[in-house]
Symmetry: C2
Subunit: 764 residues, 2 copies
């Protein structure tokens, strides 16, 4: 297949996938890559194996050396441990391509993890620390007839720590002086598996000596959002005297900008205005409208290069929620909480969604399809935001492109998490390089809502403060490169809450129904309710003889059922027994454990919405998982299987719904069952008066109806109804459901299922 | 007097005053300045008057047009109101000086307030907004035989507001889009009097065409503080090929650096190391040791230019105080408080001092002598810090030089206070220019402890947040130009408290003794207890017929006794009457009002010290005042007269002292008087065991002795003793004193005087 045909095919594919961002006229070369390992920098690999890129060193060696598979089965992941401390070299050999006088050959990579040098024919052309800074090297002047291009990976960066081998949380301290995301060093839902290697698109490519290197559109909107002031920054090589044509089309295909001219230097700024731009809105608040641009570079009428991209016009600000200025504080008074309310296009939104971790431990394996499947699940669950947590990676471009399309806001953290990151200049310099690359890339996306320095840095387990050099540098980089996007040092920031992560906490003797009702935060940026994974997922990685009952020292423990975060996490068998007694089968365990997750998550999401407008954000921990866990707070099992809680959260996040506040999970015969009624509305629709009918359903029976003649409610406003009382009947099945029927509006109906305990208590 | 002789005299004066910072070889020209006003930019003044510079437009016009004086008497200050809206022009005429081929004539000013243009012979050479950026213009190429140099001042910057003329606090909103300090627009202790004009050193000067423009020393200390890595940045004109000699002498005069060489360009960096530097310490923790440098520029052995400066080696950090990480917070947990503990040279200190406002409404009148008098008062009261509040100016160089010498740390705020400063690019640009000038100047001083974006910006009355463009820009400027110095966005920041400002607050029915005991902040950066001013001060500005009793609508009100902050502030006559009944004379009013201030301030300072090490800072509002107030929270009356509270605060700030915690101010016969005993120590001295004897003294009698055999205490550590009980006797004088005598250590003795109420209450 010729290069031109290949390029066309790729372009067509990209257009079909809607991922037509930043395509550029270039001719990619196919080469085969090999990989090998060695103990010192100067050594050569003893053996070369085939390599799949993008991928990971672990995956290549696993295949070549016949490791036990799948890598996530039982404790197979431990097979990779030795790789942390060795060097890896990727190699490709290629003949000097036939280049026209005006052509040059480049080595280009969107991501090499983590510290490396690039050598051509034994000559070092580049050394870099950092996996988020694209590598782009002109090889032309260094070519021989036969060429040997190597990417040499340093061992994993690790600060020596006194590691307690029983405490996975301690492992992360290894990552304290590097810009490598900390998660792969081990977390309470991620095995210790420090991935490395070429993890994003990487190729040799022939480019014209005259070419575009970057075409970046930025804009500001006026206060009334009726005018966009657009700046287009065009950079390239040999551009002087070349002509260009820039066409921008509106979301419905109408040409709104058609500009031609001649460039006078390698760096030009064009500016223009666009009146009445159609605005980009997050999911649930409007359409995610995108304009499409193409910028064509011409020489005497002949196209030399082009770039295509999309633009969503919106203004995002972080503002104070209602009541947060006035929150009472006596003298001596400290500052008010920091703003956490997201405003898009002058509209307050209720931000709802999940913390996004990795879809895969091996980030090189994450495909555009996987991103799309998961992001569509998010959109379908009424999510409008994802917090991309600082323990993980800054995702590939596909992720952001799809979020742009689906209207999912991205809260993007820099790669700092739960560590005391040093003030040492060497570290701050690497982080600055990485942050600069990240900001320049991601700021072009409409979905970008918020920059954050990292995760939980201002809590005792990290020990950082506002005076950190790294964080002040990040603030400065964002201020200079992307001032329009809000910036926070870390989450939680003042006023915002993280936690709790349990259905029931014996230390405080409180259920989620109790602690969440008294919580008073402006935003809930992390909270979790754990459950056991789906049955088929459990059976896929737990050896048959270990499946039931769950025990320490088995695949249950290596997959986070025990001894992570707290000794009982995340299986929480004691909590299970408190409500259900000893589990009798795997199926029963899964069913009841997931029931608690369902009602727990639903309650937190709905309770945070009840606290609107003081609170305007609920983001649970976490969405998916990078390998199959035995128990976890996630809504989706690896690789992409929703747990029942996903569907329950989806119900809790409907723009309008009937909801209850309930004091506890477990009920007894004859007790006075009570709950408060609400109609929640975080949309901008006016809700007309309606009749809500509440019943307690059990054993195919139901109680007398309780009727609330609800007055309806205004835009972005909840309404509280009366308190419902039922005398608890005797129930055979051990459970009952509160059903709220919204007459004429079945889409507002809600169900909540609770536990019936057959013990009789004296309740007057 | 020849220029050389004048320069020598000036140099000698500077050396005598210890203000030998940044002297440079130049020959200043004396010229006479005149001033006039006009209604539009293009008009010329109708009349020219003599002008004193530095000074203020108000002072020149007052003299020339025979205004009522002194300006601070009664409501004389209102005579200046009309000046806000007119233009002023300063003018000087001079003959072209005889310049050698290698000489040039400059116009130089350290401060012109606020927006202006500089014109020579009708030609505009410079336009500037901002009073903190030095003006330095080479006039040489524009000179005629007779020259006419004008400084044209724009009217006062004012954002239109709906001003409630009865609410002085609203006036400050005028200042919301400018970098002009807000205080002169009116505050609760500063009259509305928007000063303007040439406010710092300003002159014509002949300089060599070959010259130094800036010699800036920066350094970092290693962790153990045993090595200073020094960078010297040398900038100038025509420096290439010129030789230099740089000599640095230690605090005791020993030469520690003697370096010679040849400069290769107009911008050079020299670096060196200094082993075992003698460190600079703040007052109370060691000596404020300063090294002295001279840098001489030579051409063939002949001195062309020189700069002298001083350097104090220290490392200052903002760190978490003991217990502040662990301060309990349940899930969902927010961040920990921000660090507010000042650490100097690896030593935690208890920061104690005052908020520094202006010594004079007319900042152009502030002399080095006034700075020195007031700063020596501060030092003598055991202050180690001054918060230079963002409503006021960044002081002249003398201020910082004297603080360097006296060991007084400076918390320097940028000129933002109690306003919603805009995100508009025009404003942010001016502020960036001003901040850059301020940081480059002030960072050279050993006394600089902290940069702060401004005052009370994150409270509802300002309405700014962490997302402010201005504040993010300030962080970025400080990070780039002075990363070693801590930076905060504003005060109070999270954990730090401002307030209360009353001895007794009827709204909460609490005295200072009650609210301060339950306060739980990591630092108290503002708190006040008001009092009436000294008798002679009151008589100096209140017309005889208004002196007593104090009434609204008189000079009492124009001087802040009524209707500022709260309706009763700052005279607080209702509180006075609650304790003392109707005042019978001015003398009685002053005595009792100042008594409350004495005990109130002493209690807050000592209570904050009792809260050490969770709390490590107490800075009262405020030190001095810019004109004579009738009532105020200040310790010092205008122009420089300590109130009794100054001496009481001085006692409360002794490094080691006996102290009591007392529940209230007013006591009755037969009551059980009780107070808790403490020995406070914020020094690093070990305090040996000692005997403390407590008595209640009244009517020349005293109760039985209460003895505490105190075990002494360790460095930077308080010790709590027993609770003292006395049965309240019958007291004729209406007051009594708790006296604590420290046997063998009279310097630890303390006295506290309280009110006896002759009413008999039933107290079983």
């Amino acid at each position: 297949m010729s290069n031109i045909i290949r390029s066309l095919v790729l372009l067509t594919l990209f257009l079909l996938m809607g991922i037509n961002f930043l395509t550029s006229a270039e001719h990619k070369y196919d080469t085969e890559w090999q990989i090998g390992y060695h103990n010192t920098e100067k050594e050569q690999p003893v053996q070369w194996y085939p390599s799949v890129i993008p991928g990971a060193v672990q995956l290549d060696i696993m295949k070549a050396e016949n490791y036990k598979q799948p890598w996530w089965y039982a404790d197979n992941v431990r097979q990779f441990d030795w790789m942390e401390n060795v060097w890896f070299t990727y190699k490709t050999e290629f003949k000097r391509p036939v280049l026209r006088k005006d052509e040059r050959l480049f080595f280009f990579s969107k991501g090499i993890d983590y510290r490396f040098k690039i050598m051509l024919n034994g000559e070092t052309l580049c050394e870099q620390e950092g996996m988020f800074t694209y590598v782009d090297i002109d090889l032309t002047g260094h070519l021989k007839n036969m060429n040997d291009l190597c990417v040499v990976l340093y061992p994993v960066p690790k600060i020596a720590i006194k590691t307690n081998p029983d405490n996975a949380e301690e492992y992360r301290r290894n990552a304290r002086e590097s810009a490598k995301p900390a998660v792969s060093y081990g977390w309470d839902w991620h095995p210790r598996c420090v991935t490395r290697g070429i993890w994003d698109e990487t190729y040799l490519t022939v480019r014209s000596a005259t070419r575009l290197t970057d075409v970046a559109l930025s804009y500001t909107l006026n206060d009334s959002l009726t005018m966009a002031h657009i700046d287009l920054n065009v950079e390239g090589v040999n551009l002087s005297g070349k002509s260009f044509r820039w066409i921008m089309k509106s979301p419905n295909g109408e040409t709104v900008i058609d500009r031609q001219g001649v460039l006078s230097s390698d760096k030009s700024g064009l500016n223009t205005e666009l009146a009445s731009p159609e605005l980009w809105y997050p999911n649930g608040y409007g359409d995610a409208k995108l304009y499409v641009s193409e910028f064509v570079l011409l020489n005497g009428g002949r196209e030399i290069d082009r770039q295509n991209w999309r633009t969503g016009f919106r203004r995002i600000r972080l503002v104070m929620n209602a009541g947060t200025w006035e929150d009472p504080q006596p003298f001596p008074s400290t500052r008010s909480v920091a703003p956490s309310g997201i405003e898009v296009n002058n509209l307050r939104i209720f931000a709802k969604g999940s913390n996004w971790v990795h879809p895969d431990v091996f980030i090189g394996q994450i495909t555009p399809e996987r991103y799309r499947e998961q992001l569509e699940l998010a959109k379908n669950a009424h999510f409008n935001i994802l917090r991309v947590w600082g323990g993980g990676i800054v995702n590939k471009e596909d992720f952001f492109n799809i979020c742009d399309e689906l209207g999912i806001l991205v809260w993007q953290e820099f790669p700092l998490s739960c560590n005391l990151y040093t003030d040492k200049p060497e570290y701050v310099k690497v982080l600055e390089q990485e942050a600069t690359s990240i900001v320049k890339r991601v700021k072009k996306h409409a979905c970008l809502a918020l920059w954050s320095g990292g995760n939980e840095l201002f809590n005792y387990w990290s020990g950082m403060t506002d005076q950190s050099m790294a964080l002040r540098m990040l603030n400065s980089v964002c201020y200079h490169l992307d001032p329009q996007t809000p910036f926070i040092y870390t989450s939680p920031f003042y006023g915002v809450g993280h936690g709790h992560y349990l259905f029931y906490d014996k230390e405080i003797d409180k259920e989620v129904f109790q602690w969440m009702t008294t919580a008073h935060r402006t935003a809930y940026a992390e909270f979790g309710v754990p459950s056991v994974s789906n049955v088929d997922v459990l059976r896929s990685f737990i050896p048959v003889n270990e499946v039931f009952p769950p025990r320490k020292g088995t695949a249950w423990e290596t997959h986070h059922a025990f001894n992570v975060w707290r000794p009982e996490s995340w299986l929480e068998l004691e909590t299970y027994k408190k409500y259900f007694g000893e589990p009798k089968s795997l199926e029963e365990l899964v069913k009841n454990s997931q029931w608690m997750q369902n009602e727990g998550y639903k309650f937190i999401f709905e309770e945070s919405r009840r606290q609107m407008p003081f609170c305007c954000m609920a983001i649970n921990w976490c969405f998916q998982e990078p390998w199959p866990t035995a128990a976890n707070n996630s809504l989706i099992n690896y690789p992409n299987e929703p747990k029942p809680s996903y569907y329950e959260v989806k119900k809790a996040l409907r723009p309008v719904l009937a909801s209850i506040r309930i004091p506890k999970f477990e009920w007894y015969e004859n007790e006075d069952f009570s709950c408060d009624l609400f109609l929640l509305n975080d949309s901008y629709a006016q809700i007309e008066p309606l009749k809500l009918v509440v019943t307690l359903q059990y054993d195919d029976k139901e109680t007398e109806q309780f009727v609330w003649n609800c007055s309806g409610t205004g835009p972005f406003k909840n309404v509280q109804g009366p308190t419902v009382h039922f005398r608890m009947p005797k129930i055979k099945s051990g459970q009952f459901t509160i059903h709220i029927k919204a007459e004429g509006k079945p889409e507002y109906d809600s169900n909540y299922t609770f536990l019936y305990n057959p013990l009789i208590i004296n309740n007057n």
